[in-house]
């Protein structure tokens, strides 16, 4: 862990410069210290600290009954987490990679999402399912997927995605505190990126969990993104500045329920919207955003809502992922098309 950075406005100890991965680790640690009912479970989360080291050191400090190296089966992880939640625990499940959440899909859709309603609110399911998601890491099949839309389509779940270290630190704690089940998507490719390192003031007051945020103001057109695509959108906005285009960038953060009020507000000003996501577009969150914006901003739109997404194909072999993934140029191309409409 990096030495804490001294910051004038807050006591020295409350500010630390952390990567996204370390911020998650500290967030988990803080949540576990605050509430003995918080437990972490998943494959290799114990001694190894998870294949991404997000749970590094937690088993050593909290013991094997609070950090569980589980048998290798995702339905088992989620299904037992439901039972632990019913018992009063607040389990935080790690799914090793996005593509491995599917063996647990049934438990998520049939139990996690429905138990609160089934019991008319008598049973809460305060569990968090952490999913490292997205591409760009040069991996083999099933390790680079963006399955968030499946969960956004599932009533009874809440879904969030963090895009930076400060959010990662706060959002994981808020997700754990939330009395609803939360699918928590983490942009794995930025876990250990130095440029994502940020000053985190652990004594600050975080924004609400289920709120989107304008991360760059602009007036020519609006970009909406979440998770790893936020950086792409911000880079695009920086590049567009040279062409004299002022792009507003909104980080959704909450994927379900979507917090689109800031998007509507923005589109009413700019008249143009480009939505960016790595996931295939068909029947997805980006479709939902387009559908809602065209309805809410019908008279403000000067061009249709455009989408820059992964293609409707399985995630390709790693050597092709640069072309598969939305990048700055594809985003700018879409902005150009929007402006020329």
């Amino acid at each position: 862990m990096a030495a804490p950075v001294i910051n004038k406005s807050t006591p020295a100890s409350s500010v630390q410069s952390l990567t996204l991965g370390k911020a998650l680790n500290l967030g988990l640690r803080t949540a576990m210290e605050a509430d003995p009912k918080v437990i972490v479970m998943g494959e290799d989360v114990g001694k190894l600290g998870g294949v991404f080291r997000i749970t590094d050191g937690l088993q050593k400090d909290f013991g094997e009954h609070r950090v569980l190296d589980t048998p290798l089966a995702e339905s088992g992880i989620i299904g037992t987490a439901v039972g632990l939640a019913v018992r009063g625990f607040r389990p935080v499940c790690e799914i090793q990679f996005d593509g491995f959440i599917f063996p647990g899909f049934d438990q998520i859709v049939s139990q996690v999402a429905k138990l609160h309603m089934r019991t008319q609110g008598r049973v809460k399911v305060p569990l968090v399912i952490r999913v490292p998601f997205g591409g760009g890491i040069g991996a083999v099949e099933h390790h680079s997927e963006s399955p968030e839309s499946y969960f956004a389509h599932t009533a009874g779940l809440k879904v969030v995605a963090c895009s930076n270290a400060v959010d990662a630190y706060w959002m994981i704690q808020q997700a754990i505190q939330c009395d609803d089940p939360v699918l928590f998507f983490e942009p794995k490719r930025y876990y250990h990126s130095g440029f994502m390192k940020a000053e985190i003031d652990t004594e600050a007051t975080p924004e609400p969990l289920f709120a989107s945020r304008v991360v760059r103001q602009g007036s020519t057109a609006t970009l909406v993104a979440y998770g790893p695509s936020v950086k792409v959108a911000l880079d695009a906005a920086t590049a567009a500045e040279e062409d004299g285009h002022s792009l507003e960038v909104i980080d959704l953060r909450a994927l379900s329920p979507l917090d689109l009020a800031p998007v509507f507000e923005s589109v009413r000003r700019t008249g143009r919207l480009v939505v960016v996501s790595e996931a295939p577009s068909e029947a997805s969150l980006t479709s939902e955003i387009a559908a809602r914006v065209q309805q809410e901003c019908f008279y403000s739109l000067e061009a249709p809502v455009l989408r820059v997404t992964g293609f409707d194909t399985p995630y390709p072999p790693a050597k092709l992922e640069e072309e598969f993934l939305p990048d700055l140029d594809r985003v700018l191309d879409a902005v150009d098309r929007s402006l020329a409409w």
Binding site: A73, G76, I78, A81, V86, R87, R122, V123, P257, L258
Partner: protein, 401 residues
């Protein structure tokens, strides 16, 4: 739960009604043997003829059972059956969308249910009306599921009886997690320990979730009793379509004990359940119980068993009726007279009448219930959806379109 033609309001058929394929007589005999003989390892304390047989291993778990207790077990079974039959009748009369009968499984369920303590937790599947009864849950609280007003109205935390689970196998993992929690909280280790019991069927044993439940419970030494009611059928499929071996032997591969009990023998079910729970309380869980029983009725009210099983099989099982053998035993030992039986019957009829009245008076749930409790913490998107719909709905109900 199958949903059959009735649900989809079929037109009257033009052709002749489907007739069950006629099995050969060898098939009948083979089938009868397969479904009716429990094998040498079957734990039985009360024969179908009501005779108490000794069992050196399990006798001690029912050594304290008095005549009073036996009468009480009898009473539970009669009441549970009566409520079940009433549920069936209410469905036939259009008061319920469907009913899932437990007929024939009273002893398995009451034996298990009565072995449980208040501090234990139960995860049922969807046929455990008898266990629910033993947990102090009124059949009224179950009715909403089948009438379509709710998904069960008991307080699953207070009663320590989880909601019914319909997706086959899911609850086994949920129960394993709960039992792990009991252990993590240090509630296991001596005679006062807590335990969890989970119910599932013979068909369910094929599901991955049940296997994973076995793996988890074994690896975490969870105080979990797997209670498999092998009622010989998973809708139309006999147990042979799920397994080569008797199901209690499945436990062998995981390193915990598996026992086959006569599921039509309430005393044996009680004894084996007490033993299994005791093992779990002491930290020696998990344990698998296979209760060898028979689904006397259809899978659900929408099922037509004449299409896939022969009536001889049913007749053979009638001779093993779970209630009858207790009645005979009570009579033979002079532990109950006609007055007792009459009074239980009267009580049962009263229960049924009450259930019936209750059913008829169940209100239509309010429209807003569609949106209630989807989340513990409000979702603005859903709230907006609700408000818009309720406004439209009020409007619509108010004026003409």
């Amino acid at each position: 739960m199958s949903s059959p033609e009735q649900w989809t309001h079929p037109e009257p058929r033009e052709g002749p009604a489907a007739t069950a394929a006629a099995p050969t007589s060898e098939q009948v005999i083979a089938g009868l043997r397969a479904t009716s003989e429990g094998g040498p390892e079957l734990v039985q304390l009360l024969t179908p003829e009501g005779e108490r047989v000794e069992n050196p291993e399990f006798d001690r778990y029912v050594a304290d059972v008095t005549a009073d207790d036996l009468r009480s077990l009898y009473r539970d079974m009669v009441l549970v059956r009566r409520a079940d039959r009433e549920g069936n009748a209410l469905q036939r009369q259009g008061q319920l969308g469907i009913w899932v009968p437990l007929l024939g499984q009273e002893a398995a369920q009451v034996g298990a249910g009565r072995a449980l303590r208040d501090t234990d937790m139960v995860f049922p599947s969807y046929r455990e009306h008898g266990v629910a009864w033993c947990r102090g849950i009124s059949p009224k609280d179950i009715l909403g599921i089948f009438r379509g007003t709710d998904h069960g109205s008991w307080d699953s935390t207070a009663k320590r009886f989880h909601p019914y689970t319909i997706v086959i196998g899911n609850q086994v993992l949920n129960a394993a997690g709960y039992a792990m929690g009991q252990r993590f909280e240090g509630k296991v280790g001596d005679a006062d320990g807590e335990a969890t019991m989970v119910f599932f069927g013979d068909g369910a044993t094929s599901q991955g979730d049940v296997h994973e439940g076995f793996v988890w419970a074994a690896v975490y030494d969870a105080p979990l009793v797997f209670f498999c009611q092998n009622n010989q059928w998973a809708i139309s499929e006999p147990t042979e379509r799920q397994s080569r071996l008797p199901l209690y032997q499945r436990a062998r591969g995981y390193g915990f004990p598996g026992v086959r009990v006569d599921g039509n023998d309430v005393l044996a079910s009680l004894a084996v359940s007490r033993w299994a729970l005791d093992e779990c309380r002491h930290g020696n869980g998990p344990v698998l119980i296979e209760a060898f029983t028979y689904r006397m009725d259809a899978h659900t009210t929408t099922d037509d068993p004449t299409r896939y099983r022969h009536s001889d099989e049913l007749e053979a099982w009638k001779l093993k009726d779970p209630i009858e053998r207790v009645r005979v035993n009570l009579v033979r030992h002079g532990h109950a007279d006609q007055d007792f039986f009459d009074s239980v019957q009267a009580e049962a009829d009263e229960l049924a009448a009450d259930l019936r009245d209750f059913c008829f008076s169940m209100p239509q749930p309010p429209t807003s219930q569609i949106f209630d409790h989807v989340y513990a913490e409000a979702s603005p998107v859903l709230d907006a959806q609700r408000d818009a719909f309720l406004a439209y709905h009020a409007d619509f109900a108010g004026g003409e379109h």
